[in-house]
Point group: C2
């Protein structure tokens, strides 16, 4: 509804007609759309300086003529008229649902299996934030992230990943892009403008550093990780590695080579950026402890995230900085605002403090391991010659080579047609490959066998 200006100089018994015409005009022009709630009788009357009776007369006229409908104890809503008529696009609202009930998800490929996520406990923690700590919400969040959450992260990563990090060296942000953009500014301030990346590697990381103005070089990855001998020498630079589960090769860097990489960093006054994504979801044996814990020379920046271990609507990532870099960040942090929701950070802090996060991870790990087994068995049963699993160590996805004349994109859209999410590996890495990434984590365990059976039929047809 647009601002309404009533002409009070005319006979006031026509005021209701003016109001009726104004609202009708908005409905016919598409400025108000079906399902939209009209202002309350009392509110609109007060706003326009007219009596409630006058407003009610106008609403009743609209009701009688079918422009609006009335819902008991709720109010008046725009009726569905001329659903196919042309509406000026400037302010029509058809591109979004009028109510949360009208949401559709057809376009989203993400389906999440939340059988391990204890929504009830999360809600309880969220309610505690509002009920017991609402005073904290009267202040903006620390640009570095909520102290209470940094404290819990500090505890957690020390215990489970061997990472040593006092809370004042932890920086929280809404996703890897936020974190990397802070990191870029710190590196540039240190005079580091060159970043070495793993090849093949994860494409979004490459464009993030390139967009931030870094010179980027690509260093080949072998079975035991990045080729240290090919890293730049005699200049201060940074190297981005995922030593515990390299994407897309799945390479794990043994401890001896980790020390060699640390030596390289010390000798060349350089920084190692350790991306520890998915490490909590390692299924076989103990998770490999993080490199950061081996570092005695403050050379390692540790990147972590809650993306694959909480539910998808929560976007919280973090990094652990060596003290020197943390100091640089504290010097500039007030120029930035925290992007993570404060109440969500506090909820997560309580969720971790009460141990629910750890319990969830344990369940998740065991469930995903079962799913991975089920998927491997199903491929072996239904498509032993066609599908060849490549990386099967950990994480939330499985990389497979498919021996087929069909293109990778075709194979993926056939998978999507039965609800399975697959992505051509070539879309997210610089490796030239026909392999596919299969996100089995999103499929309920009991459906994996059946769906892979169907998929094998589609693929071989």
């Amino acid at each position: 509804m647009k601002p309404i200006i009533l002409n009070h100089t005319e006979n006031s018994e026509f005021l209701y007609l003016q109001l009726y015409e104004a609202i009708k005009g908005d409905i016919l022009s598409g400025a108000m759309t079906a399902g939209e709630k009209l202002p309350s009788l009392r509110g609109l009357s007060k706003e326009l300086g007219i009596s409630i009776t006058t407003t009610e007369l106008a609403y009743n006229q609209l009701l009688v003529e079918g422009y609006v409908i009335s819902k008991p104890q709720s109010g008046y809503y725009v009726a569905s008229i001329n659903p196919d008529s042309d509406i000026p696009t400037g302010h029509n609202r058809k591109s979004a649902p009028a109510n949360l009930e009208d949401y559709t998800f057809e376009e989203s490929p993400y389906i999440t299996d939340l059988s391990c996520f204890d929504f009830g406990k999360w809600k309880k923690c969220a309610a505690r934030v509002f009920n017991d700590y609402s005073g904290l919400l009267l202040f903006e969040s620390d640009p570095q992230g909520e102290p209470a959450l940094r404290y819990e992260i500090s505890k957690y990563i020390y215990r489970f990943r061997g990472v040593t990090a006092s809370p004042d060296r932890i920086v929280i942000g809404a996703g890897t892009q936020q974190i990397t953009s802070h990191l870029s500014r710190i590196l540039l301030k240190m005079g580091i403008s060159h970043v070495s990346l793993e090849a093949p590697g994860y494409l979004p990381v490459q464009s993030m550093f390139r967009d931030a103005g870094f010179n980027v070089s690509h260093i080949p990855v072998a079975k035991d990780g990045i080729d240290i001998s090919k890293l730049p020498a005699n200049i201060s630079s940074a190297v981005y590695v995922s030593p515990s589960n390299q994407f897309p090769t799945g390479a794990v860097m043994p401890v001896g080579r980790r020390y060699k990489l640390l030596d390289w960093a010390v000798e060349n006054d350089s920084i190692i950026i350790e991306d520890d994504y998915d490490s909590e979801l390692r299924y076989f044996g103990k998770p490999v402890p993080a490199m950061q814990g081996l570092d005695k020379y403050n050379r390692v920046v540790y990147l972590g995230s809650f993306s694959s271990t909480l539910f998808p609507a929560v976007k919280i990532s973090y990094m652990v900085l060596p003290e020197e870099m943390a100091e640089i960040f504290r010097g500039i942090k007030n120029r930035y605002t925290q992007t993570c929701s404060k109440s969500e950070q506090l909820t997560l802090a309580l969720f971790m403090e009460d141990g629910y996060y750890y319990t969830g991870i344990k369940k998740l790990r065991s469930l995903y391991a079962q799913k991975l087994q089920a998927a491997l068995q199903a491929f072996a049963r239904y498509a032993p010659d066609m599908v060849e699993p490549v990386d099967t160590q950990s994480g939330i996805s499985l990389t497979v080579k498919v021996h087929s004349k069909k293109k990778a994109s075709q194979l993926c859209s056939e998978a999507k047609s039965i609800g399975l999410q697959m992505v051509p590996l070539s879309e997210v890495t610089d490796q030239s490959t026909s392999a596919l990434i299969f996100y089995y984590n999103q499929v309920p365990l009991e459906q994996i066998d059946k769906l892979i059976g169907e998929l094998s039929g589609l693929w071989s047809s």
Copy 2:
């Protein structure tokens, strides 16, 4: 607590001692700090593959020796020992509070008066998101912002600011920095690399555009807004204006000059970025409708925010793009992730749909107008010759000139000593001035007179 490895080959009756030593070591080294909760007996036993009795023995030993304390029905916590001893800084957690109860706010100058914010209603909406729409939380948020919230914003700004915007032309982000960074990418893609800014103007805006790689020029502002004759001609550029309440001059651009600025944009194939901050809080007369509503040529980008109208922990801003620019954004949006919390966006959508937001704004407007009056009256009473109010039209703050030999920073710290937040204007604008900004919105109405009385005493001493 760090990962514990027990040696099972020794006599197992000593297992509890190994565990006791491991935990004691963590407490003494500062790796576990006072107030930190120990893992549950059951959980730790399962994790280590030992009996609950063994773990209980270890915990009891720690309890007896005073390393931990036990809270009934809650568990074991690290006791407060040697509070002044040196702790290795690598992993000590003293820099953050162990519990939400331990938060302190001494360093934050922000105090918010929430007497108008209906926290109860917000909590109700948040609970509805979790209870009725938790299915929506299984999907990541749209990089452009939640459709339901874009729908509500579309309705709201049309009704109250005269802005015409279909939801697919609205982009949501966590704060102005996020929004401006998206906007910068779109402008650069359109070949626009020059931005004109108001002088004097708001400093953070200047650094945002400069950091994003734009050439920036400064155009003087008069009583009726920016000097249009000084804007670049014959090149495509952008101009950043706040026509409804310029900062720091408080200038309002009359409608005739708004049309002239639009003409300039059409003639030079240029873009107007209209920052409509605080416009909802205009106290005298009707709010001036936004420029965007006058624009028939798709030249205006409209920036809005919920920063000063919701509570400070919520950080949601948005922009309305002309269709051409919206199309560019839709082409690149999947390279970005949404930084706003999804559940907070959905909560706000419900809060707006139910009319609570509008009710709150109305209350806020009337309360802030009273506070402004009270502040002006108090300054006139206690310091008629010393304090000269400059900009008093709208917003959440008041700009005053203080005739004093003290420096602006000194005046502000005297204000802070009695809980009033003032900032030297020169810190946030490129204007050379000794004026101060006084955030009266944060002070309870009934205390304004008394506190300004005290302040006048301090300032004149």
